[in-house]
Amino acid sequence: MPTPDATVLERRADIVEALRRIVPGEGVIVSHAERRAYESDGLTAYRQLPLVVVLPSNVEQVAAVLRYCKEFGVKVVPRGAGTSLSGGALPLADGVLLGMAKFNRILEIDYENRCAVVQPGVTNLAITKAVEHAGFYYAPDPSSQIACTIGGNVAENSGGVHCLKYGLTTNNILGIEMVLINGEIIRLGGKHLDAENYDVLGIMTGSEGLLGVVTEVTVRILPKPTAARALLVGFPTTEDAANCVAAVIAAGIIPAGMEMMDRPAIHAAEAFVQVGYPLDVEALLIVEVDGAPVEADHLIGKIEAIARNHNATTIRPSRDEPERLAFWSGRKAAFPAVGRISPDYYCMDGTIPRARLAEVLTRMRTLSEQNRLAVANVFHAGDGNLHPLILYDANNPGEVERAEAFGADILKLCVEVGGVLTGEHGVGVEKRDLMGTMFDECDLAHQERLKCAFDPDGLLNPGKVFPQLHRCAELGRLHVHAGRLPFPDLPRF
């Protein structure tokens, strides 16, 4: 992280006092013990006590905090529920941690326009809970949905098991209210579709807290499908499983979810939840289809036939709702299940072209041997999003470093085969230094200049996403000057 600014650390008392004037009462957290609750997010390998924590309860307070921080050059780290798996909400020693937990109200549910207006601290699952009695739900379903907030989902462009068919956060929100670092309050979108000019909402989604602070979100809600059925399919090789996934898509089927687990993940999950996963297979697929009952049955039949043609050794369609949920319980418990067989695990998040899956898994096994660390794989197979879980023991000297090096090698491999560093967890601190494997300096400079348009002093969540901090003035220099580039070979007409 950037070296803490000594002058800011010295001014801590003044900063606390100024924040207390803006957010009276218990909204400013100063004591060491209470700040400890904020020292890390879901990526617990990184910890840092924030300078001070502020918990505003309305947009005016957010604007005043940001205006103050801009005026006095104080860094700000926004935070929702702190479930980021990439260190997106990791505090700064010289930065104000801006917690949005008090923005926890659902403001409006508009069934006629199929949307809900909520504050950013509302949890993802709470939105579905609020509308399910009327037959609706909010589609993106990250595994942390019981805890993660919609504001954090916007910052990270969160996905989930169902995003192959229903999209990521960016495809499911209609509008936001946000505050810029200069305290300006801006509304983007609303209950209507598409932007009137540049799609600033699209840029804000997935910007990892570097561009502004979201203070209200309008989400699309969808009618719940009448039926959902799942199919459990076991294969003797991962190649067979990967080919089956490709064949399902080639047959024109976009399942609501299509998850793959490899042998170590299957065994860990089965030992944990005992749902009857086959233990004699190398790869297990859970395929879910939804829609009208007749559609779900029709598609399950087609997928069964495709699976049989791809050497499946186990094929079990769910007979009822409890069985469907049982199929999923193993997959959903895969992370804690792995946590049971290993003291620590490190969850990675690359995306690859699916055609390269078998090759990537083979090379991952080699890397696993080289690094002397085991790996279990769960995989959003439909969209190519891999979640390798590297097993390690932080108490063994050197294992944390080996796990990180192994993780970095896996992500580089994803990029090498034509994939990307992160499918849904974000870059954050974790993958920041790997950005150079996917983007060259010029690519990154274009992104950093966009940040300058929002935050010219680089005060919002610095140290995340970009491997190097550049000053906006330096980034803005144009290297093309009149007369220096004659382009004599340019075709003209």
Binding site: A355, A482, F493
Partner: protein, 410 residues
């Protein structure tokens, strides 16, 4: 006007770099089918991207296609059809609306559809062009080659610059190569037609259908006078139409359910597969307003429940033909006789009586004088307008790419 037609990425960079060096802005064009959309430009240089064409990588089972930005949509549609797939956002062909000759209309390109973020009736279910735009490579107004996004369907690495490029009308970068998500073509489709409804009950019926679990992929309402533009319709009765797509047994089941649920208040019929295709293509291509001569054509995005009242409110004050797409959320209006093309009336109607209504109106077609005189794109509040200007400057500090296409002055 000098014309530059680069053959590859390096030549594209040189063309922008030279324009920068001599400070002569470029009008960026691929097929040229949408040159009449946006504020009129009179720039010293034309940057013709049409040679940056051709499908470069297409893996149907990966649901991803990469092509030169100027690849004609027709070529892409043909390749996708062969693998049973499609561009799910249904990029419209506005050739008939603009009165373009076939040859020009046929030149609409993938990059053009993305740069204008144009989507058809399936927008309500499958998303807009921006939702299918996965990655690109191009040259910014700084004369520098850069890329963003990726070539896989799921990616959150770095800012989502594809969203920014979608709908930026070539004002930030000249795209050289684009990658889009593609989806399977539905096995079957059917259309449920509800006849003779007035606008408000029609929008309520569309809303009921969208709130049902029947996965509606198109929801349009065409008032009586506008149906004459649709060849497959009798022509004098208002119609609300709902599209169903999916596996055959599912479409049949959902059609029967919809007919039962919505058919009690009006006459309800259905269109089969074969008649549904031209109907929805006509809706996609704005054919109900295609014969509007020199009327100003507006595209108004509002909360779906407000579409019917908005159409009626505009038609009460101005000579208007109109219809609704996106379950009421998109009002297409053709306006005659108003000096400002209807801009003030339409934009007031969006704000509504309490001034709190949200939405935006875009002037899709109008004379160059009209497009110079009224804001083609919805004006923004000062803080947002200033942010948008800073974004433009971050990619194109010298205003070399399509300056004035979206907003006067930059």
């Amino acid at each position: 006007m000098s014309r530059f037609a680069p053959d590859d990425l390096d030549e594209l960079r040189d063309a922008v770099g030279e324009a920068l060096a001599v400070e002569e802005p470029l009008e960026v064009v691929a097929g040229g089918s949408k040159r009449g959309f946006g504020r009129p430009l009179q720039l010293p240089r034309l940057l013709d991207l049409s040679r940056l064409a051709g499908i470069r990588d297409y893996q149907p089972s990966e649901l991803v296609l990469t092509a030169g930005a100027a690849t004609p949509i027709e070529e892409i549609d043909a390749a996708l059809a062969e693998a049973g797939q499609m561009l799910a956002f249904e990029p419209p062909d506005l050739g008939a609306l603009f009165g373009l000759p076939e040859a020009v209309a046929g030149q609409r390109t993938l990059g053009g559809a993305l740069a204008c973020n144009l989507s058809g009736p399936r927008r309500i279910k499958a998303g807009a062009a921006r939702d299918h735009f996965l990655g690109f490579r191009g040259v910014s107004g700084r004369g520098e080659i850069f890329k963003a996004g990726g070539k896989v369907v799921k990616n959150v690495t770095g800012y989502d610059l594809c969203k920014l490029m979608a709908g930026s009308f070539g004002t930030l970068a000249a795209l050289e190569e684009v990658t889009v998500k593609v989806l399977p073509r539905p096995e079957a489709l059917s259309t449920v037609m509800l006849w003779g409804l007035d606008p408000l009950p029609a929008v309520r019926a569309l809303s009921r259908a969208l709130a049902s679990p029947h996965e509606i992929s198109g929801a349009v309402y065409i008032p009586a006078p506008s149906t004459t533009g649709l060849m497959s319709l009798p022509g004098s009765t208002a119609v609300a139409a709902l599209r169903l797509e999916g596996p055959d047994p599912s479409v049949t089941f959902r059609r029967e359910r919809l007919l039962a649920e919505l058919g009690s208040d009006c006459e309800a019929t259905s269109l089969d597969d074969e008649s549904s295709i031209p109907f929805w293509q006509a809706v996609r291509d704005v054919l109900p307003l295609a014969g509007s001569g020199d009327r100003a054509i507006w595209r108004v995005s509002v909360a779906p429940s407000r579409g019917g009242e908005l159409g009626e409110a505009i038609a009460r004050r101005l000579d208007t033909s109109w219809y609704l797409d996106w379950a009421g959320g998109l009002v297409w209006a053709a306006i005659a006789g108003a000096e400002d093309g209807g801009a003030a009336v339409i934009r007031d109607a969006i704000r509504g009586a309490d001034g709190r209504g949200t939405g935006h109106a875009t002037l899709i077609k109008g004379s160059p004088e009209l497009r110079r005189a009224v804001p083609v794109f919805e004006p923004q509040l000062p803080a947002l307008a200033a942010l948008v200007r800073r974004i433009k400057e971050s990619f194109d500090p010298c205003r070399i790419l399509n300056p004035g296409r979206m907003v006067d002055g930059f």
